[in-house]
């Protein structure tokens, strides 16, 4: 029992069952939701299936012990981008309810060939390259030795150290996107 508690306090290292169960459940849910998202005939349902995929991605970040990215994912994607999509659906008066007009039926075989082909190439090269390599969290352990405030401090140090100039560029880009969206969507 004491040993188990001591293990629970450690950063997860190699094969651990609960994390794999959570991964399996979220992975199956995400793949099914993504497939429904690109095949459903109801545009509002597509946005709601997208919510499941984005939430699953956030859970995967938690499994990879990247808490800050996970919280950002939940706030930005689930909080802002899905709402933007729902507004886009509403403002373009998309057909609510079932519609056959969402797909380009002629392109379905082409899309299936490209999708499956990409998946085969990716799958083959990934399995060839990384095989059964275990996630060791080596970088996290090195970071844990260097400071006491956890991995988020390391991320913050990296953003405001090595990547300060790109970070400022991102803020300029967001400002430009904001102004651009206003200019485009404004009625004259």
């Amino acid at each position: 029992m004491i040993q188990l508690l001591a293990q629970a306090g450690q950063p997860a290292t190699t094969f651990d069952v609960p994390a794999n169960v959570v991964f399996a459940v979220t992975a199956v849910a995400m793949v099914l939701a993504a497939l429904r998202m690109v095949t459903t005939r109801n545009i509002v349902h597509a946005a709601l299936w997208l919510v499941i995929v984005l939430g699953g991605v956030g859970l995967n970040y938690l499994l990879l012990q990247a808490e800050f990215v996970a919280i950002t994912q939940f706030l930005v994607y689930l909080g802002a981008i899905v709402v933007l999509f729902l507004f886009g659906i509403m403002l373009t008066r998309a057909p609510l309810g079932v519609s056959d007009d969402l797909d380009n039926v002629r392109h379905r075989p082409l899309g299936a060939i490209v999708g499956v082909g990409l998946l085969l190439v990716f799958g083959y090269s990934l399995i060839e390259t990384f095989g059964g390599e275990e996630l060791t969290f080596a970088a996290y352990e090195r970071a844990a030795e260097a400071n006491t405030n956890g991995r988020t401090q390391v991320v913050a140090d990296t953003i405001f150290g090595d990547y300060l100039v790109p970070f400022e560029m991102v803020s300029v880009l967001l400002l430009a996107a904001l102004i651009g969206a206003i200019v485009l969507a404004r009625r004259d």
Partner: protein, 98 residues
């Protein structure tokens, strides 16, 4: 946990997103499929950051910020197209054809 389980999940999501971009004709749905592709890439960044330090997480954060900007401008363009043509089917935007 294996490294490959995250990479393969990301590959599957990427391929589904590419299928969506090719097959969907509604502009908003095409943008949603692009979000799927961007998220698949982010899973890869974070998975590799467990090996090579926090740069991967920083790049994932940049990708999230840029995806937000992309959706904002993309939806503004879709709205503009809707206002001009009363339709956002991307295969009807063929005026550049000679």
């Amino acid at each position: 946990m294996l490294l490959n389980q995250f990479l393969l999940l990301s590959a599957i999501l990427f391929s589904i997103g590419v299928y969506g971009v090719i097959v969907r004709r509604n502009g908003v749905l095409v943008l949603m499929s692009i979000e799927l592709i961007l998220n698949a890439v982010n899973i890869n960044f974070v998975a590799f950051s467990t090996y090579w330090g926090p740069s991967g997480q920083v790049f994932a954060l940049f990708a999230i910020a840029i995806a937000a900007a992309e959706v904002g401008v993309g939806l503004a363009i879709v709205l503009l197209i809707y206002r001009n043509r009363r339709s956002i089917n991307v295969d009807e935007l063929d005026e550049l054809k000679g």
